[in-house]
Amino acid sequence: MKKLGKQTLQLDNKPSILNTAAIVGPKELNGPLAKYFDKCVEDEFWGEASWEKAESKFIKETVSTVLGKANVSSSDIDYVFAGDLLNQCISSSFGMRDTNIPFFGLFGACSTFVEGLCLGSVFIDSGACKNVLCATSSHFCSAEKQFRFPLELGNQRTPTSQWTVTGSGAVVLGKSDTGPYITHITPGKIVDLGIKDANNMGAAMAPAALSTLCAHLEDTGRSPDYYDAIITGDLGYLGKDILIDIAKTKGYDIASIYNDCGVLIFDKKKQDTHSGGSGCACIATVFSGYLYKMMKENNIKKLLLIATGALTNATTSQQGESIPGIAHAVAIEM
């Protein structure tokens, strides 16, 4: 392991992504990526009494799916890094409480999935761990309940608002002769350019994505063309356009290789999701379901995955605070 520049770590022992799993909810089932997910659940309660319980079930079932697919038993997992959006990360801790795996609960808002990949891959790279599990979840209903309005309230969503993805994604990291490998991690700085509109997370997070993107490219000495694809977490349509714009001002033209998970997961016109998807599960399910398969099939050989998060809650936005953004990046190569 070697530090490059100010923010990036180069991982020499190449932690491999052994397998991935993604389970999603009813809205994602009607989206364009539905066929890539391991399972689509039609009932947002998934037979549970509350959305919070359902979200725990999402992460629990996704973890057991990924363990099965990777053919690793839970006793062979050294540590799990998991997180979600609900207060005190209850979905992950409740979802994981029966697994008997040492547990790190993470909070990085919607950037948590890549935060977990960063930490997990360093643990593997250290040589001390054999297998590490990273998982995140989010649920449209529980997120709306905590951050916004009751589901049955007859209000209108603004054009810049995003739709929290219901589901969970999980990956097992380990040592293997086959890729894809995590080669670099670039944890991001908190960036706040004063956006206060809680219904415009894309604009709030785009500057953080730019900061991490620039740091990664400077630290590694790579140009954007090095990658087959640069994928951000959940900037949505507006955030994606903003990032393309502001990356140009730094001299990077990423438009041709760049996309966003919030744009990929829903059909904006048909599904009326306004600015696209968001939530911890957005990048987690799109990577675990879709991008990982693209890499395995060699359609993408070099991927820069940047998860973005809005570090805010209902209290700070009521107190008139602006929304600090964060973005973490991992370079994944075959």
């Binding site: 509350s50 009751p150 049955e152 350019l193 956006i195 604009a203 730019l210």
Partner: protein, 147 residues
């Protein structure tokens, strides 16, 4: 000048870049749905008058009926669709007040009937009652002093 240079410039840049609400369409829908809800109220009002109720009682029946309809539509998961279409057209009439009471009550049932349903019922309607009642008390006191 780069948009990311300062919060001020970024704010202006985002404002320009962000899609606007389709205000003409929204206003048109709000107008006819809002007008229609008031007309339903007016029909009920005329019916009460026809049945011989006085004006105050008729108004109360109108309120209770529209509240009942709005709560029924919320309970069968239809009101939010109307609200999404009509915006202020269903929010501003008394139907919006009723919906604001029932929607958190349904949502927080999982936290129990006292601190869930009972307390959260007023997350939106509470402020309306606080400001409405306080304003009426002030009006009453002023009336007492100056009339």
């Amino acid at each position: 000048m780069n948009p990311t240079d300062s919060p001020k410039e970024y704010g202006e840049y985002v404002k320009k870049k962000a899609p606007n609400s389709p205000i003409l369409k929204d206003c048109f829908n709000a107008f006819w749905v809002g007008g229609l809800i008031c007309c339903i109220g007016q029909l009920i009002f005329f019916f009460c008058q026809y049945k011989g109720l006085d004006e105050t009682a008729s108004s109360t029946v109108v309120s209770i009926s529209l509240i009942g309809i709005a709560i029924f539509l919320s309970a069968i998961n239809v009101f939010n669709r109307i609200g999404k279409f009509a915006g202020a057209g269903s929010l501003i009439p008394i139907t919006g007040f009723a919906n604001s009471i029932v929607s958190p009550a349904m949502e927080y049932k999982s936290e129990g009937y006292v601190m869930g349903v009972g307390a959260k019922m007023f997350t939106v309607a509470g402020p309306v009652l606080v400001y409405g009642i306080s304003a009426s008390v002030i009006v009453g006191i002023l009336a007492c002093l100056f009339m």
